[in-house]
């Protein structure tokens, strides 16, 4: 679980580093918005970031806006930790794309709890993304069974997309996760099996009586 701390104030940065490392997170730091922006554009950006708002150059608000505009998936979880405490500041920060907002001064345990919430949300997002991917894959398989499928009027073989005629069960097994196990339906039992059994019974009786059928 990787956390990026973005704060130009070395004492605040060190305080965050010590706290988060002590809580078991992998921590990286950036002393300003520009440095953090470089990190977020890299191939391996952090999962969660703690952003100061007031910084020289690119401030936290602009950084947050840029990260969201980047549109990366999965989206990093962004927490503002700032002394800007007016309601309008909080609204602005959250509307810029922050997931959470902590006003300084704050208790360390509050930061810990909110970081834990962040990672819970990230885990939930990852689980949902996995489920969506599974559903999309299942949907793609179902779609393979859609469309106009030529079927022989007599033997009921179907023609696949490579122009081969196949048994229906072979075709469906090849285009879905379905598997077939053979049985006999009541109608076919009546139509095919019952006469066959009757024929065999007569043969056996004829054999016993010496009659030629």
């Amino acid at each position: 679980m990787r956390v990026l701390i973005v704060d130009d104030e070395p004492i605040v940065r060190r305080l965050h580093e010590a706290s988060l490392t002590g809580w078991g997170y992998q921590v990286a730091s950036a002393a300003g918005g520009e440095q953090a922006w470089e990190i977020f554009q890299s191939d391996d950006p952090p999962e969660l970031a703690i952003l100061d708002w007031t910084m020289p150059g690119m401030d936290g608000l602009e950084l947050c806006t840029r990260i969201r505009a980047l549109g990366r998936e999965p989206k990093p979880y962004l927490i503002f930790v700032t002394a800007k405490a007016r309601t309008q500041d909080i609204v602005t920060g959250l509307r810029a794309g922050a997931d959470d907002y902590i006003v300084k001064p704050f208790e360390r345990e509050e930061l810990h709890a909110r970081v834990q919430v962040g990672f819970r949300m990230l885990a939930l997002q990852a689980a949902l993304a996995d489920r969506v991917r599974e559903l999309e894959e299942a949907l793609a398989r179902v779609k393979q069974l859609q469309g106009l499928l030529p079927i022989c009027s007599y033997c009921k073989k179907v023609r696949d997309d490579r122009n081969y005629w196949q048994q229906v069960e072979t075709y469906i097994e090849g285009h879905s996760d379905a598997q077939f196990t053979h049985g006999i339906c009541p109608d076919c039992r009546e139509k095919y099996v019952a006469p066959e059994l009757e024929r065999l019974r007569r043969i056996r009786e004829a054999g016993q009586s010496g009659t030629q059928l």
Binding site: P10, I11, R14, L15, A18, P56, P105
Partner: protein, 126 residues
């Protein structure tokens, strides 16, 4: 007598910020002692350059770091300058900067005394 408290640093506040981490406090004090005087110089340079935004920014930064170390009066003085710069009220800035410099001197003096760690130990023990 200016009514100032005897001690410019409330170590109990600092320890609360740091979750009782004595070693971390000593480390942060080292950073502050190196960095603090540069902040006042940066404020004065920004004022000379008439860069109000930079004045606000440095004051904001000093406010935050001094609060963590329990230097409450210094933090309050920095906040006054930050607010003034934010609102564009620069007429009182010389007095506000002087107040910051005065409080910073007291904080530096406090941490320059090796006995501050004894006070810290007493604070931890209590």
């Amino acid at each position: 007598m200016d009514g100032a408290p005897e001690c410019p640093v409330d170590l109990a506040v600092a320890m609360r910020w740091l979750g009782g981490d004595r070693a971390l406090l000593c480390e942060l004090v080292g950073i502050f002692v190196d960095d603090g005087p540069k902040r006042v110089q940066a404020i004065r340079s920004a004022l000379t350059a008439d860069d109000v935004r930079q004045v606000e920014h440095v004051a904001h930064s000093l406010k935050g770091s001094s609060a963590i170390l329990g230097a409450t009066r210094l933090s309050t003085a920095a906040l006054a300058l930050e607010d003034a710069a934010h609102d564009g009220h620069t007429e009182n800035t010389p007095e506000l900067v002087a107040a910051i410099a005065r409080e910073l001197d007291r904080v530096m003096e406090f941490f320059a005394d090796p006995g501050w760690t004894d006070r810290l130990d007493r604070e931890v023990a209590s």
